[in-house]
């Protein structure tokens, strides 16, 4: 039998693409579960962080999709506890970032993560516009996106009274420079436009 088959070029596997994007190998994980033990959101997750890595280790399209459809990847707070304690020094938060981007690019975002994604998109839309985050504008745009119109309205009067809400956005002077940064980063990842603006 020819040995050409195993040496033939192949399309990169998902673990290879994770490695390319993050520098991390999912195969470093030996499933000790220390990440899950320390993760503040493990109890709310559909897959614990080590289980997400296991799905990727299996290197099967349906398992990869299962990971990208998981709620866990959106619940991850990037608190860095898992990475700090991993005996194999796997940078799990970095992998989670990549999975979120892939999940969104491929339209696989978990239905219960829609609010989380809407918040991130609203935040980046605000920054694209003025270069700095305008909290009032962010919350207004988030409410319109999600329909949670009444959320936190009771906090508004006291925030105003305490001088903590600035109704007018603070902007950078060179808003065009910031807009060009957004445009170039969007061009580098066209399906991952930062804010769908």
């Amino acid at each position: 039998m020819s040995s050409a088959s195993h040496a033939a070029p192949h399309a990169p596997t998902f673990p290879e693409r994770v490695r390319e994007a993050t520098g991390e190998s999912v195969f470093q994980c030996y499933q000790c579960g220390k990440c899950a033990a320390g993760c503040p959101l493990a109890a709310e997750m559909d897959y614990t962080p080590n289980q997400i890595l296991r799905l990727l280790q299996l290197n099967l399209p349906e398992m990869e999709e299962e990971a990208l459809r998981a709620l866990s990847i959106w619940l991850c707070l990037t608190c860095e506890t898992c990475a700090a304690r991993c005996p194999q020094e796997v940078d799990i938060p970095k992998i989670m970032d990549h999975l979120r981007q892939e999940s969104r690019r491929r339209g696989l975002v978990h239905p219960k993560a829609k609010d989380i994604l809407a918040f991130y998109e609203s935040l980046l839309a605000s920054v694209r516009k003025g270069g700095r985050l305008h909290e009032v504008g962010l919350v207004a745009s988030y409410k319109l996106k999600t329909g949670h119109l009444l959320q936190d309205v009771l906090l508004t009067p006291q925030l105003l009274q305490r001088g903590k809400l600035s109704l007018r956005p603070h902007k950078v002077a060179d808003t065009d420079a910031v807009r060009r940064i957004f445009d170039r980063c969007d061009a580098a990842a066209p399906e991952n436009k930062a804010d769908h603006a």
């Binding site: 994007a21 503040p40 959101l41 709310e44 619940l75 707070l77 990037t78 608190c79 860095e80 506890t81 990475a83 700090a84 970032d97 990549h98 979120r100 981007q101 969104r104 609010d115 989380i116 809407a118 918040f119 991130y120 998109e121 935040l123 980046l124 920054v127 270069g131 700095r132 985050l133 305008h134 909290e135 009032v136 988030y142 959320q151 936190d152 009771l154 006291q158 925030l159 305490r162 001088g163 903590k164 809400l165 600035s166 603070h170 950078v172 002077a173 060179d174 420079a177 910031v178 060009r180 940064i181 957004f182 170039r184 980063c185 969007d186 580098a188 990842a189 991952n192 930062a194 804010d195």
Partner: protein, 293 residues
């Protein structure tokens, strides 16, 4: 000492008392804060969750502007901004091709000469001055809360004991306070989900407030605007979630130091908190009291 200063977006609105108290304390500690001209938002969790290049480019623009202004160090009071800026500097210094790509995206040169430092770094160095100038020692028992990014990743923060840090304890002790031993100092408050998943935050921040209160803390001390929001402004959600009310105020570490240096509550913005900053009269722990276990 002259420091570049990147306040970040929160300090212009919801955390304005962090900015006010830092600006009030700085001159008393011989620190001159020079705001980076035309700084922009770091992009926070939103950027690194959705677009890798953007998560590097947004902090890189501010880093490049700070470098162009000639600062040796850049003080970043928000832990989340601090982490994004420090991580961007590390990533760009480690990868020349990436550095070139990002500098062309931001249209600014950047070589990484400006170091990123936190409020805890800067106040830690000033601790002897705080001790010498503490005319009104803050004689209270406090729980120092670090959250995530003041200790993690340890390679970025250079925190000596990431699982049981002591840097904030040393600062508050120099201001006369008694730092308590407690269990939740490095646990996450849930910052990124504060708006989009408030119930999760009520659970995570609730554990932190409850443990500090149960151990007899008279104040929680923080050095991050997002931690403050979740522990202070989100207190009603925490109390509803746990069915308990907590009078425990949340102080920025700059406010605690400012009180010890004799600054007024008004100048330090204590009136802007949701949880009233009040202490039981006469309940102050004497500085020489034995340390709690």
């Amino acid at each position: 000492m002259k420091l570049g200063y990147f306040p970040g977006c929160s300090l212009e609105s919801s955390a304005r008392e962090y900015n006010e108290s830092l600006q009030a304390v700085a001159p008393l500690l011989d620190l001159e804060l020079c705001e980076v001209p035309d700084w922009n938002c770091c992009g926070a969790t939103a950027a690194h969750s959705l677009n890798h290049k953007l998560a590097l480019a947004l902090p890189a623009r501010t880093l490049a502007l700070a470098e162009r202004a000639g600062f040796d160090e850049l003080l970043v009071p928000c832990s989340a901004c601090y982490s994004r800026l420090a991580a961007t500097r590390r990533d760009l210094l480690a990868n020349e091709a990436l550095r070139q790509e990002i500098t062309s995206i931001i249209e600014l040169d950047y070589v990484g000469s400006t170091k990123v430092v936190s409020v805890v770094d800067v106040l830690g160095r000033a601790a002897p001055t705080i001790r010498a100038k503490a005319s009104v020692p803050f004689l209270r028992k406090v729980a120092c809360y670090y959250g995530c990014y003041l200790t993690r990743p340890a390679s970025l923060t250079t925190c000596a004991r990431p699982e049981d840090p002591q840097e904030m304890e040393a600062i508050v002790a120099s201001a006369g306070a008694t730092p308590l031993d407690w269990a939740f100092k490095i646990d996450c408050c849930g910052a990124a989900l504060s708006v989009s998943r408030t119930a999760t935050v009520a659970e995570l921040a609730g554990r932190i407030v409850a443990d500090a209160a149960e151990r007899g803390a008279e104040a929680l001390v923080v050095a991050c605007p997002l931690c403050h929001t979740n522990l202070d402004l989100r207190r009603p959600a925490i109390e509803r979630h746990r069915g308990v009310s907590y009078a425990l105020p949340v102080l920025y570490i700059t406010q605690l130091v400012g009180l010890a240096l004799g600054l007024s509550e008004r100048a330090l913005g204590l009136h802007r908190h949701h949880v009233p900053v009040r202490f039981a009269p006469g309940a102050a722990a004497p500085a020489a009291a034995p340390k709690e276990n």
